[in-house]
């Protein structure tokens, strides 16, 4: 599986993603600068966590307008898998590749800790190595991860099996609607999630429960 990680100014999980992808796919991902106009021909594009453009205006708003995102959109439309983690999720909503928006955490606090997640759906390229209902622990680290969408959109996401990750009951760190932690687009090739699977992919980091996400992608895309 060939992959690329997009690097925006103030991305700070780009190298975490690079390390996890290199270890699990055996191939180094392309690191693609935001000012470039084309993503190399790959199977997976990762939008990493961080504080792209200093979170100016709104988290992800500036990155969504960057040169490289035009090509990311084009490739997403053509079916290339796109994974947005944390700030990457914010960029995907701002770019219109995923519905809804990520708002300030309901308690206004930056939250940085492992959270318990429930795999809501294993029928996807991103979660086929998990079982439905399985509990996993990924770290979160964000101040604006409070997922918001109108009720019609939320009903549709749930009805179409597009909510892949939910915070376990009682462990919602940010006030997200219906405990939503990660969602798919309609074509099921774009996933955005606030928790960090790449930071749960090595025993040294205390958890490897993020590995099956990358292994699912390898199964599907290799």
């Amino acid at each position: 599986m060939k992959s690329a990680v997009i690097v925006f100014p103030a991305s700070n999980c780009d190298r975490d993603a690079q390390t996890a992808l290199t270890a699990l796919t055996g191939t180094k991902p392309f690191m693609v600068w935001h000012g470039d106009t084309e993503v190399p021909d790959v199977d997976l594009i990762v939008l990493p966590g961080g504080f792209s453009y200093g979170d100016y205006l709104r988290c992800g708003a500036m990155a969504a307008q960057s040169h490289i995102m035009r090509d990311v959109k084009k490739k997403a439309d053509a079916g290339v898998a796109v994974l947005g983690i944390c700030n990457g999720f914010q960029v995907l909503t701002e770019a219109g590749l995923l519905p809804g928006a990520l708002m300030r955490n309901a308690d206004l606090k930056f939250v940085c800790r492992p959270v318990e997640l429930v795999i809501e759906e294993s029928q996807s390229a991103f979660t086929r190595r998990y079982s439905k209902g399985e509990h996993v622990r990924f770290p979160v680290a964000h101040g604006e991860g409070n997922y918001f969408a109108d009720d019609a959109t939320l009903d549709r996401l749930e009805g179409e099996g597009r909510v892949l990750f939910r915070y376990a009951p009682g462990d919602n760190p940010n006030g997200s609607a219906r405990n939503i932690a990660g969602i798919l687009n309609e074509k099921r090739n774009v996933l955005g999630l606030m928790p960090h699977p790449e930071r749960a992919s090595d025993p040294l980091l205390g958890s490897i429960s993020g590995r099956p996400l990358f292994q699912s992608l390898i199964d599907t895309l290799s």
């Binding site: 205006l57 708003a61 909503t93 701002e94 928006a101 708002m103 309901a106 206004l108 918001f148 969408a149």
Partner: protein
């Protein structure tokens, strides 16, 4: 021409910052304060001279960047 753009959260969208400000005002003894909502003000200088054209351009700017219309609404005023 100068424009002032106001971006605020839509009604019904939770505004925890506004709530915190409201609580702080109550704590300071401003008992009459009810709901508080926080927003942004963005000043934009425009080369356009025609007001209708400027308004159309501003609307486009708000829709494309200045506001996230999933959660925010916007309005603007023009000054010559």
């Amino acid at each position: 021409m100068k424009a002032r753009v106001f971006v605020t959260l839509k009604n019904g969208v939770l505004d925890p910052q506004g709530k915190a400000i409201g609580h702080a005002l109550n704590n300071l003894g401003f008992d009459s304060v009810g709901e508080v909502r926080q927003g942004k003000v963005i000043d934009v200088e425009l080369a356009e001279r025609d007001e209708a054209v400027a308004r159309a351009r501003l609307k486009d700017m708000c829709e494309k960047l200045l506001a996230n219309t999933v959660i925010e609404k916007y309005e603007f005023e023009l000054k010559p």
